[in-house]
Amino acid sequence: MSPQARPASPGNTIALAVRDLRMRYGTRDVLSGVTFSAQRGEVLGLLGPNGAGKTTTIEILEGFRMPSAGEVSVLGVDPARGDEAWRSRIGVVLQSWRDHGQWRVRELLDYLARFYVPFSAPEMPRPWGVDELIEVIGLSELANAKLMTLSGGQRRRLDVAIGIVGRPEVVFLDEPTAGFDPHTRREFHELVHQLSDLENTTILITTHDLDEAEKVADRIIVLDEGRIVADGTVEQLARQFAGATEVRWTLGGRRHVHAVRSGDPTGFVRDLLAKDEDVTDLEVRRASLEDTYMALVQRAEAGPSRFARQPDTEQRKGTGDASEAQG
């Protein structure tokens, strides 16, 4: 079997598929039934607060970790059984730290590229030309620099180059822009776009930053406590999460809040105003995707034990009263 090229047939367009993925460490469930898939050429953002299970998911897909249960398929192969030919079609962008510090940029890329030469096929020549790749990541001037002299951003770009040097069909990026300044971050996003547009590469990228997911991903999956809580394009998610709307007003010196769980809040406001002419300071606020996600992150960071914080509880009670009063 020679390494397969990207099939042209539309029938086989699923690059990643995960069904009912579960991971348990001792008695703690890190993943409890995760199901999703990605098309070829799709950029999938795996979004979630720290500890949601993103890294575990991506490491299972990379073949670095065995799941407790569930079905996993990457390019039609179970990563736990992936051979070296399969490995040659997968790109893993690792966060470098101080490895290969004495090596020079071109030296390391040349060395790693050699491993992909035997997996080259006429329709899919591997690996990338190293000089070409160095130019794409903008390190031509530093091709002979030692890795330990590179800045954080330069090193990250080299990490990407190492991840894609074998011309992979699927690329995994785990929190790739952690610790980036805004400029480097934007450069990095452009690099991801280049990859998916020019090469039709399937990309799975994890992040805890909604803004980043919105910028790079075609589709976002939100993971929370080992479960998928949302899956869709940015527009779909925005619509899904924008359901709840808060209406606030003042009546007789007292502040009232009412949450319209779904649908159009206009009717409620019309009734409210018609019923009571003394209503002032009216506010209608639709929760954005960001609000919903921030609430998720805050809850995850506070931890389950501190979930019910005192001020929140009081506010909620007030809300309930007001709503009830309005019938």
Partner: protein
């Protein structure tokens, strides 16, 4: 598939050779390593000069001339036993090993690279013993059989120590624990007959010394470089060449049986999260 897999593995072995050569070059152009490599034989030269006038107990033979070949054996043992353990622990922590794992046949390249590098750097440290050797050159007996036997001792020494070292390195929790291995090696040098004849030691220490490769590698190097008559002061009055190969062979077999198992287990556990945890530990604690 099999042909292709074979070709891919062969390419990985070749890449491993260049990896070994590149890393050796890095080692030999790094100022700190060069100072270390040169300092050790210079210290030995000083030690041998201090020993001047002392003779091997019961003979007229210069003690320094007996110590030098032992140092050759010790350099082989240290190069093979300490080096790999330290780098494997470090490579696991900094993500080098994870990169190898993410590359098709990358572990093959990594291992071949390590073997080549340690063989070359150990060879350098052995060759540098020429410096202290000059102080005792008159007493040594060097002929063609010397070089043949030395080459054999070198190869057997590498084969018997590197796999054990790989096992120890894989079992270590962090690179910082390599220091313990260094300490243990230093302690084992005492009953190894390298700086003082083992026959002058208490019986129980002689047994301890003979259980580890240090003694046998020193003995092998002495048998290659000293006059035949000097065998008289060894245990049993002989160079025991056959026993030397047997004991070192046992170490090699134990090491080679354990190494792939332990290495696979370690590689399987390796993940981005593990590297991240190590990085955070080093950033906050400094080791």
């Amino acid at each position: 598939m099999t042909t292709n897999a074979f070709v891919a593995r062969r390419e990985a072995v070749l890449a491993g050779f260049s990896r070994g050569w590149i890393e050796t070059r890095h080692m030999l152009t790094d100022t700190a390593s060069v100072i270390w490599y040169v300092a050790v034989p210079v210290i030995f030269a000083i030690v041998l000069l201090v020993m001047r006038g002392n003779t091997v107990p019961g003979t007229e033979f210069a003690l320094g001339a007996m110590v030098l070949p032992s140092l050759v054996g010790m350099s082989i043992a240290f190069g093979g036993l300490l080096g790999p353990a330290g780098t494997i622990a470090a490579d696991r922590e900094d993500g080098t090993l994870l990169r190898a794992k993410a590359t098709p046949n990358g572990m093959v390249g990594y291992l071949v690279g390590k073997i080549v590098m340690f063989a070359l750097t150990t060879l350098v440290s052995v060759v540098l013993l020429v410096i202290p050797a000059l102080t005792v050159a008159d007493e040594l007996q060097l002929d063609p059989s010397t070089w043949l036997l030395l080459a054999l001792v070198f190869i057997v020494g590498m084969v018997s120590t590197v796999p054990i070292s790989v096992v120890l390195g894989s079992l270590m929790k962090s690179a910082a624990q390599t220091g313990l291995l260094f300490l243990a090696s230093m302690l084992l040098i005492v009953p190894s007959g390298i700086f003082y004849p083992i026959t002058a030691m208490p019986m129980w220490l002689q047994f301890v010394g003979q259980s580890f490769p240090f003694y046998w590698l020193g003995l092998g190097a002495r048998s290659a470089m000293l006059p035949e008559a000097m065998a008289a002061v060894e245990i049993g009055g002989s160079w025991r060449t056959f026993e030397m190969f047997v004991v070192l062979g046992v170490w090699a077999v134990i090491g080679m049986a354990l190494a792939p198992m332990v290495l696979r287990r370690m590689a399987r556990r390796q993940s981005g999260a593990a590297v991240e945890a190590a990085r955070e530990r080093v950033m906050s604690k400094g080791y």
